[in-house]
């Protein structure tokens, strides 16, 4: 018989091993699932995890999808560490795309060298503005930021839908809900020719370094962490809870907004109804897989990006439904949360002992004394 027992101190080994266990659990379940569907599991795994990485084009696509996941994941991780549960990065990403895309459409085909910097700035500010709404409501009216950020996702998507069906629709676009393509100056330069990877990945990696310095080396980062770990201690030390909430939401909103504009000004190249296959939501898993640590989030984003590519590859190669991507993402989070239990608890083998039953009592007492 085994018993779950609280550890005296959280295990630092388990917090590193837990994501690996989660990946193994995901693979085993995937194996069973492929078998149950009558598909060859090994072929499935090959299509899912190896094939996307076997070509340089595949690798470039990996970096491309990593960009928004990493940007959103970094922002979310900073907030989660501070006990600010923003789950609406998808909405902030959308608003960043709208704000930055709006600037791009205003510039039209102009080749002004101000266009791109202003678009990026507008993207960041758009995401921040969207995140400022839950920050204001939480600090002013004590609303729950989980609900508010989530609901604002759908509002942002409907705003985008209205724009591309209405004012921004390309008059020569045969009624497709999309804008004109952005001009050359309004499209991000490709980092490696022959691929779709843009400068976005450089911004994202740079932000990972900045986030690392912020969370590990600055007093502002320390204050946010204290607020997350022990809110009463933060109040005692005089760290403002309101400032903490504002910083957490604005940072994440800005990063998600940057992700949004990098998508529409990069691989998409115009405004359209669908700009993200749920990057903002997947980034929640990225943040947890990365242990809310900026460097960990980089690896989490790469893994999640691989799941997107693998899902597409498995759809094409084996005729599996598109839900396969979401299913693997869900499995990964499910197993991660399960494995995380063992950071604070351990299994201990309990031998059924006669201690509490009377007849054999004398023996036990002798031992105890």
């Amino acid at each position: 018989m085994y018993r779950l027992e609280r550890r005296a101190t959280p295990s630092s080994t388990m917090s590193v091993v837990s994501p690996i266990l989660a990946a193994v659990g995901m693979l085993i379940t995937g194996f069973l699932l492929f078998s149950a569907l009558g598909k060859d599991p090994l072929e499935g795994f090959y299509l899912f995890f190896i094939k996307p990485l076997s070509t340089s084009y595949g690798l470039s696509e990996l970096l491309l999808k990593t960009t928004p996941l990493l940007l959103c994941g970094l922002g979310l991780a900073l907030g989660f560490r501070a006990n600010v549960w923003n789950i609406g990065a998808e909405g902030q990403l959308t608003m960043g795309a709208i704000a930055g895309g709006g600037v791009a459409l205003w510039f039209g085909d102009s080749d002004s060298s101000f266009a791109m910097p202003l678009m990026l700035l507008a993207g960041v500010l758009g995401g921040m503005a969207w995140a400022a709404i839950p920050a204001f409501l939480r600090t002013r009216f004590n609303t729950n930021e989980i609900l508010v950020t989530l609901m604002l996702v759908y509002i942002a998507q409907l705003v985008l839908s209205w724009l591309v069906h209405g004012p921004w629709r390309d008059p020569e676009g045969q009624n497709y809900p999309q804008s004109q393509g952005f001009g050359d100056a309004e499209t991000m330069d490709v980092l490696i020719s022959g691929t779709r990877v843009t400068w976005g990945i450089v911004y994202a990696l740079g932000l990972a370094v900045v986030a690392w310095v912020f969370s590990q080396k600055t007093f502002a980062g320390f204050r946010m962490q204290v607020a997350g770990l022990a809110p009463a201690a933060a109040a005692y030390a005089g760290f403002s809870e309101k400032r903490n909430i504002w910083i957490a939401l604005l940072l994440c909103g800005g990063a998600a907004g940057l992700a949004g504009i990098c998508e529409v000004a990069g691989p998409i190249g115009r405004m359209q109804q669908e700009i993200s296959p749920g990057y903002g939501f997947a980034a929640i898993i990225v943040a947890w897989i990365g242990r809310l640590h900026p460097i960990g989030v980089v690896f989490g984003a790469l893994l999640m990006s691989l799941l997107y590519l693998g899902g597409e590859s498995a759809q094409m190669g084996m005729g599996l439904p598109s839900a396969i991507t979401g299913m693997f993402q869900g499995l990964l989070l499910f197993y991660l949360l399960g494995a995380d239990l063992f950071i604070n608890f351990r299994l201990r083998r309990v031998t059924p002992k006669p201690a509490t039953s009377a007849p054999t009592a004398t023996a036990t007492v002798g031992k105890a004394a």
């Binding site: 005296a8 320390f222 022990a230 201690a233 005089g238 403002s240 201690a355 009592a361 036990t364 105890a368």
Partner: protein, 519 residues
């Protein structure tokens, strides 16, 4: 009494937790009608032992014999059916319900309201614990709430009543009433296990005592035949050290609280009413009171976690009632809160990081960047000077014992060189050695000219370390007196809300006289 068979016999009870052995081969025996003390410092394993008897905790080894039969008690409901009742240190009453509703919730079989109310009245009067069954619990004082807990147990006609530190929430006068009740119960044949670390009480009340130290039985005694010193030696394994307060001239007023009134945000909290006090350089003002009478609220108002009007609190002449804790620290205040883990320290962070929690101004932060070397030096010197037992400054706060963490927090706040220091419950749950060191540190600060305000529920402690004493009751503050010019009795009367000033016990008149009436 020699002829009667023991009612309860524990043999070799052992309970291990991941980081500590709470009970290690503990044995004791209680006869019918005996008041048996379980004596020990905080953390000696008294509460764990009682939880084992009451079926809350399962022991890892050992046996329990009840009326000559081996029993395994797996749940409190089973313990109650067997005739074991327990009054916990922290009450489990619903404040929005009435007395009879609370009691009926704990009954295993329902009794009609009128009948239950009659029973409550009957039992409570029989044992000298009058309570009105139809009163709402939130309107009752802590002493009265304890009566509800006791009456709830008595209704089940227990054969064994466990009382866990019952007097920590009572005024000295109310303690006498409680003792009368317990003696009456014992004379009717009920056994009582009385848990405490207060030596005088045990010598006055108990027939026999089992002393615990570090989870083991360190001795048994007939308390009447012992002195406080001999009991203390068994309890702590050494002599009780003394603190001495040498009289000293005070200087300028450091903290000036002027007619501070502050409504509590919690509907069942205590609002502060018209509190006026001054603390001067080089003196310790002690604030006594039964817990829940506004101590937490006063601490929050002084520390800045709750804001008031600026001029209501002045620090060195600067109005600071509207400043947050960080701004008050910048003016030279430091604080030791009542809760160590989670408020005074961040549990999963290292001691070095916990130094940064309040020490940012000591050069640990420059241009917004953290300087780990300064943190390290500072926390090392705190650990060394206050003899904090821990691995090193990288040990996480939650791995320290309560006493050691408290030494670290007091040390940290001391070494920030305050002009005014506010301390709540400095030695609550701290072992005697650490308590001694902490009290001496506070006195040393006073001798260096720091002004100190100490809020404590331990009267002995306040009489030892205070230059002046005041009492907080129902959110109002009594006048202050020198300990030499007052008595435990007078402070006890004040603790029930009677200080005879113009504010009068208006709010307390409903419940207060009952406690005082039995003096």
């Amino acid at each position: 009494m020699e002829e009667t068979k023991p009612r309860l016999v524990l043999t070799g009870i052992t309970k291990r937790y991941p980081s500590v052995v709470a009970n290690d081969g503990v044995s004791l025996s209680v006869r019918p009608g005996e008041i048996h003390a379980v004596l020990g410092e905080n953390g000696a394993g008294k509460s764990t032992l009682m939880k084992v008897i009451y079926g809350v905790t399962k022991p890892d080894a050992g046996t329990l014999m009840w009326n000559g039969q081996y029993e395994t008690i797996v749940a409190p409901s089973q313990a109650r059916r067997m005739g074991i009742g327990m009054v916990f240190q922290h009450f489990s009453l619903f404040e929005t319900l009435t007395v009879w509703e609370n009691i009926s919730l704990a009954l295993d079989e329902p009794i009609p309201t009128a009948q239950l109310a009659a029973q409550i009245t009957e039992v409570s009067e029989k044992y000298g614990l009058p309570i009105d069954p139809y009163r709402l619990v939130h309107s009752m004082s802590v002493g009265e709430r304890q009566r509800v807990e006791i009456v709830r147990c008595l209704l089940q006609e227990p054969k064994l009543l466990i009382m866990d530190e019952p007097t920590s929430v009572l005024t000295p006068q109310a303690v006498l009433v409680l003792f009368k009740t317990l003696k009456r119960l014992a004379s009717e044949g009920c056994s009582i296990l009385y848990i405490s670390h207060k030596l005088d009480e045990i010598r006055a009340l108990c027939d026999s005592a089992t002393v615990l130290r570090g989870g083991r039985v360190s001795g048994t005694a007939i308390p009447r035949n012992e002195t406080n010193e001999s009991l203390a030696r068994m309890m702590i394994g050494g002599e009780l050290a003394e603190c001495h307060l040498t009289p000293r001239e005070t200087a300028e007023v450091r903290l000036d609280v002027d007619h501070l009134s502050l409504a509590s945000p919690d509907p069942f909290g205590t609002s502060l009413k018209d509190i006026t006090l001054q603390v001067r350089s080089g003196e310790i003002l002690g604030i006594a009171g039964v817990s829940g009478n506004g101590q937490k609220e006063l601490m929050a108002a002084l520390s800045g976690e709750r804001l008031s009007k600026g001029a209501m609190i002045k620090l060195l002449g600067t109005p600071c009632g509207n400043l947050n804790p960080a701004q008050r620290r910048a003016l030279g205040m430091t604080f030791v809160p009542e809760e160590r883990l989670g408020r005074g320290a961040v549990p999963p962070m290292s001691l070095a990081s916990n130094a940064l929690l309040t020490g940012a101004r000591k050069g640990m932060v420059q241009n917004g960047l953290i300087h780990p070397s300064v943190m390290k030096t500072f926390s090392k010197s705190v650990i060394e000077r206050f003899r904090v037992k821990c691995g090193d400054e990288q040990s996480v706060a939650s791995s320290l014992s309560g006493g050691n963490l408290q030494k670290f927090i007091v040390g940290r706040e001391t070494m920030l060189a305050p002009k005014m220091m506010i301390v709540a419950q400095p030695t609550w749950g701290v072992d005697v050695g650490a308590a001694q060191l902490i009290r001496q540190a506070l006195i040393d600060l006073r001798d260096q000219g720091v002004a100190l305000l100490v809020i404590s529920e331990e009267l002995d402690e306040l009489f030892t370390i205070s230059d002046r004493l005041a009492v907080i009751a129902e959110g109002r503050l009594s006048p202050s007196v020198k300990p030499a010019e007052t008595s435990i009795e007078q402070i006890g009367t004040w603790m029930s809300g009677k200080f005879g000033d113009k504010a009068g016990p208006a709010a307390g008149s409903a419940n207060m006289p009952m406690e005082a009436a039995h003096v």
